[in-house]
């Protein structure tokens, strides 16, 4: 008998006498929508709690702010980054690496991306490898991640985010910079992922 048949057989014998636990009996009385008047403000506050850098910027001023942040840096960018806000940043940067191969990633000082969804309550940005976000390694290897969040991408809580996302593409949920508390529970920002997370919220 294969291990598959053996395990399935053991499971069936194990639960044969067990009480029923129907799907319809799962209580979902928790909140699936959280009321919030200031999503951008809450998101900014919660991201800052993780010791990430946050800028809340009117949409019209986003290109200029990104240019300031990119100035003097070698910037990696994914395909599909909206030209209207990334154009000035490309010009201000020392060098622009578009969708770089892995061995070029080490040369980037920072990576500039958009995101798919942001969750205000938890201070989380979610990347789904869509346009303007790139392959997963793009936002992993460079030491500085610069991420732009549009106001319409912000939801209040985790359930709203799950409802907007599908797992067809790989998802990366990011809540602050890489961190560890493994040594005497002292929190250190930055182990293997980007040590600096900088989020620009466009309102």
């Amino acid at each position: 008998m294969s291990a598959r048949e053996e395990i399935l057989g053991r499971i069936r014998r194990a639960v044969a006498e067990a009480p029923e636990a129907p799907e319809a009996g799962i209580p979902r009385a928790y909140r699936t929508a959280v009321p919030c008047d200031d999503l951008a403000g809450l998101l900014a506050e919660r991201i800052a709690d993780y010791r990430a850098i946050v800028h809340v910027v009117p949409v019209a001023l986003v290109p200029a702010r990104l240019a300031e942040l990119a100035a003097g840096k070698r910037i990696a960018v994914p395909d599909g980054l909206p030209a209207e806000w990334a154009g000035p940043a490309r010009e201000a940067a020392d060098a622009v690496l578009t969708d770089p191969a892995r061995d070029e990633l080490g040369a980037a000082d920072a990576v500039l991306t958009g995101c798919a969804v942001a969750i205000a309550v938890t201070g989380t940005i979610v990347l789904d490898a869509g346009p303007g976000q790139g392959r997963r390694e793009l936002t992993l290897v460079p030491d500085h991640h610069l991420c732009v969040v549009r106001a319409d991408q912000i939801v209040a809580g985790v359930p709203e985010a799950i409802a907007r996302l599908t797992p067809d593409a790989p998802l990366t949920w990011i809540s602050g910079p890489s961190a560890t508390s493994d040594i005497e529970l002292d929190r250190v920002e930055g182990v293997h992922g980007p040590r600096t997370l900088e989020v620009v919220i466009a309102i």
Partner: protein
């Protein structure tokens, strides 16, 4: 390690054959360990309490989490088959392993097929449970742990002592010594003049592992959740070593216990709120990776592991232990764990959850496993914080009833049963006790001393209640 028969967990901590009580008594002599544990457990429990307080619907989330897990476990066969189909459809390969030996063999063959002799690993309790690193090493394959704490444990040739922060028994000075003495043997040496500042030690780990991440062709992970409906795997972490391992290598092998499956994508809306807040006490952990099948050109293998879990599932009281999402909240509130530390439990699963999971997975054949259900004062704090409402005290009491009891205790209980069964017999014995009351010592001799070491013997009155009742 011993191949203790199909379907049983087989990894025992070497040098830990004694009972929990003896291990704990020794650990309590270590003042440094006591301070580390106290600081760690109290800090995390405080953070947890604050972020749980923030959610007005915590009780409802917890109830949903419990019910989703119970429903899944009741229909585990169906959800595993659905998961297998979804992963396969997305280009992944699914393997089934009935026990530790089979899982180790499968993973070893998969690594061999790549021609590689090095693999990088994401922190995974299940691969520790099956002794995967040791098995790979015996077949010429080196597994490099990449989580900072697991790296400290691996370089120090040590055992993890906490689910979330496995190296919490080490202080910064010890960690610096370990890095200075041992890093060179495993790759890039520690930087010259390394200080014992946590930031400097984390930087040393970053440098030590960076090249390895970029050059490794094979990674091994566990998973926190698997979604049957979509075939999606979920790994939550903090440092980014997980993202490195899951993203960069050409081949990814995930070894996951069969109880980690959830039916639907939507179920994550519950568990991604319950887990981070219960575990690290954060609103969300820094990184969560989700992928479905073969992703971005990677080869993906999923090894589904039983290793005693179906035995637990068959137990009507004990099966609730399979709801566990390994958050470690129960460790941080447990007065026994706080004093004894993780090593005393002699298992990769320490603390209250370990005290009910280990004896069920491994059986209660050894002195240690037989003693684990007693590693508790039954105070109930673990149940209160458990995000999936596992009634750990209930399972502990059930397992105590099944534990082997010492001969002296069995004889005493038999004698008590005989005495209490007959009214006349009891009255005669009581009168005898009254007459001998001056002769009964405060401490009982021989094996019975185990009882009086920690308890006072009741005073025997001058007259039994029955005699007084009849007289007056």
């Amino acid at each position: 390690m011993s191949g203790a028969g199909r379907g049983r967990g087989s990894v025992t901590f070497i040098g830990m054959p004694r009972s929990f009580r003896e291990n704990a008594a020794e650990a309590m002599q270590d003042a440094q360990l006591g301070r580390n544990l106290r600081k760690a457990t109290h800090t995390i429990r405080g953070k947890r309490a604050r972020v749980v307080e923030e959610l007005p619907d915590w009780a409802e989330l917890r109830e949903a989490g419990r019910a989703v897990k119970d429903h899944t476990l009741r229909h585990l066969d169906r959800y595993l088959l659905q998961l297998e189909e979804a992963v396969t459809r997305a280009g992944g390969h699914v393997h089934w392993a009935a026990d530790a030996d089979e899982a180790n063999r499968i993973v070893t063959e998969l690594v061999r097929a790549t021609g590689e002799s090095d693999v990088v690993k994401v922190k995974s309790m299940v691969t520790q449970e099956i002794g995967l690193n040791e098995h790979l090493a015996a077949h010429g394959i080196t597994a490099y742990e990449t989580d900072l704490a697991e790296l400290i444990v691996q370089l120090g040739d040590d055992w993890p002592s906490h689910i979330l922060v496995p190296a919490i028994h080490r202080n910064r000075t010890e960690i610096r010594e370990i890095f200075r003495d041992r890093m060179a043997a495993w790759g890039r040496p520690a930087p010259e003049g390394l200080s014992d500042e946590p930031a400097a030690l984390a930087e040393a780990a970053r440098l030590h592992l960076r090249e390895r991440f970029l050059s490794s062709k094979v990674a091994i992970s566990g998973a926190n959740f698997m979604i049957a409906e979509t075939g999606t795997m979920v790994v939550v972490e903090s440092e980014g070593n997980g993202r490195m391992c899951l993203t960069l290598p050409e081949t990814l092998i995930s070894v996951v216990g069969i109880e980690k499956v959830l039916p639907t994508w939507r179920d994550l809306e519950v568990f991604l709120q319950l887990l981070p807040r219960s575990s690290t006490g954060e609103r969300m952990n820094p990184y969560t990776s989700m992928w479905t099948g073969a992703t971005e050109g990677q080869r993906f293998h999923l090894v589904l592991l039983d290793n005693g879990r179906t035995g637990v599932l068959a137990d009507e009281v004990g099966r609730q232990a399979l709801r566990c999402i390994r958050c470690s909240a129960c460790l941080n509130v447990c007065p026994v764990y706080e004093r004894a530390g993780g090593h005393a439990y002699g298992s990769v699963y320490p603390g209250p959850i370990g005290a009910i999971l280990t004896p069920q997975l491994r059986g209660m054949g050894s002195e240690l496993d037989n003693s684990l259900p007693y590693a508790s004062s039954l105070c109930g704090a673990c149940l209160e914080v458990c995000p999936v409402a596992i009634d750990i005290p209930e399972v502990l009491v059930e397992l105590r009833a099944r534990a082997r009891h010492p001969r002296s205790e069995r004889m005493a209980m038999r004698a008590a049963g005989w005495l209490l069964a007959d009214q006349a017999r009891l009255s005669r014995a009581q009168r005898l006790a009254v007459r001998l009351r001056r002769l009964i010592p405060r401490r009982l001799p021989g094996p019975a001393s185990a009882w009086t070491d920690t308890r006072d013997l009741p005073e025997i009155p001058e007259e039994s209640f029955r005699d007084w009742w009849e007289r007056s």
